[in-house]
Amino acid sequence: MRRSPVGLRIAVLCYIGVLIGVPLIFVFQQAFIHGFGAFWTALRDQQMDHAIFLTALVALVAVPLNVLFGVGASLWIVRHPSRFTRVLDTIIDVPLAISPIIVGLVLELVYAQGGWFGSLLAKLGWQVMFSFPGIVMASIFVSLPLVSRQVIPLLRELGDHQEQTASTLGASPLRIFFTITLRSITWATAYGVSLTLARVIGEYGAVLIVSGNIALVTQTLTLDIGANFDNFNSYQGFVGAVLLAMASIVLLLILGVARHRERKRNEYLA
């Protein structure tokens, strides 16, 4: 049966419309309910500006680290399989199933003052919990598998004949890596990077615990939104929310393009 019944189409559109469409429209409506001027003023709120800055900084550190590790680990797992890489693969997937609150908790248990490394860190004068490094760690933890889960299946599917051929043509391993391997996983990596970025700027529960939620110091944008709502400052909260919603939409577009490019390439793989 090639055609899908029109009834199904309508039902699905209604479901998606109500579940996803309505909230999306609502957040924009609420943010601009007092007009563009009020929106602009709210954007310049000091607490929010700091939160935006902090979130951007965290992303700047956490995302590249994750991509580096993700791509490297994927290559290793697929091209040089061993017992070690199988364990590596499983560990990388663990964060998928862990509640963000638990993520925050486990990091606190180790890196807070009373934690396992607490006294060692105090002696070194390094602050991890309730501070920037802690937020970065929590962000990396929750987004750990996102790049690998895209790149690994692709690498498996592609096989390494291209790389071997390049080797017979005289290319060094480094050259092969940059001219062949990396280029063959570009869009899958882009997809993974977008997911990672979305996750990092959107993380709430884990960062809530790890940062201490100290306004103007360790409060990311998500925490800022939460704080505003807790303080019945809902308009300010919605302004922040719509900012993140817009960022999500941009990332969605990138995801769509990446998926499309991957599909085009796979068309001929068959």
Binding site: A11, P100, V106, S194, G202, G226, S248
Partner: protein, 288 residues
């Protein structure tokens, strides 16, 4: 240290007379591999392994008895039960809805299909807290629709439905795309109605992927915090989800209890994933 994609030197391993050049290369390769291993192990240990070890240690700090007591506190049981029930209902609904959505995305043609395809990922890309505050405002005391489902299991379930939809859709979609129509056409020519074809041919083919996706959704759902915490109102024993309970324990200094309930939640998630994935694998194997 990124692993080089190829073995660089084909080294005759067994009976060659050793030469320093060859030995040096072998040592270098092993050295590089070892360094990479060490780096990976350190990175993951600091980030994942040691913290998880700390969790388990902390949970059983005062023995199995205190672990069990923490987990079986009334508030804990209530929270776990509420979480599981809402997660289950939401996942079940989304299993059906996800299948339907994937179907419409793959086998139908209409204007705006691309937008639909893109918007499915929105709950995945959108921060949970944003979803949480939107749902609270939309369906709470200030609701423009004059609906108030805050503090109810319905509210929690709806929020979870929002967050977990992409999992089921995206796990079924690629399988549906790769299905040819051969088996279905064969069944049709044998006189089967479209519904029967779907039930006996198509659905079994999609079941493994659907189960895996639902399992992921379920595991994600039981740990969900940001999207649920606002609409649930967090009333202990009444509308508190497991993650909120753990949070309240953690922030009130009851670290061991927090760790215990967290371990319980993780175990539940693990069991769920295993059950779903094993069932999916078994179904897939039977078909192959």
């Amino acid at each position: 240290m990124l692993a080089a994609p190829l073995k660089e030197t084909p080294i005759a391993q067994a009976k060659q007379p050793p030469s320093t050049g060859r030995q040096l290369r072998r040592v270098n390769r092993r050295g590089r591999r070892g360094a990479a291993k060490g780096l990976a192990v350190t990175y993951l240990s600091l980030l994942v392994l040691i913290p998880l070890a700390a969790l388990v240690t902390n949970a059983f700090n005062h023995g199995l008895g205190s672990f069990w007591r923490a987990v079986t506190q009334t508030e804990s049981i209530d929270a776990l039960r509420l979480t599981l029930v809402c997660a289950f209902i939401a996942s079940a609904i989304n299993a059906v809805a996800g299948l339907a959505t994937a179907w419409v995305l793959v086998r139908d043609r209409f204007v705006g299909q691309g937008i639909l395809n893109a918007i499915i990922d929105l709950p995945f890309a959108l921060p949970t807290v944003v979803a949480g505050v939107i749902f609270y405002t939309l369906y709470g005391p200030l609701s423009p629709f004059h609906v108030n489902i805050t503090g109810t299991w319905i509210g929690i379930t709806v929020a979870i439905m929002f967050v977990t939809l992409p999992f089921t859709v995206r796990s079924v979609q690629p399988v549906l795309e790769s299905l040819t129509f051969n088996a279905e056409s064969a069944a049709s020519t044998l006189g089967a109605s479209p519904v029967r074809v779907f039930r006996t041919i198509t659905l079994p083919a999609l079941m493994p992927a659907l189960l895996t996706g639902t399992g992921l959704a379920f595991a994600r759902a039981i740990g969900e915090y940001g999207s649920v915490v606002f609409i649930s109102n967090n009333l202990p024993y009444r509308s508190e989800v497991a993650s909120s309970y753990i949070y309240s324990l953690a922030t009130s200094g009851q670290t061991n209890s927090a760790a215990s309930v967290a371990v319980a939640l993780l175990v539940i998630a693990l069991v769920l994933l295993i059950v779903f994935n094993v069932t999916a694998q078994r179904l897939a194997r039977n078909r192959a």
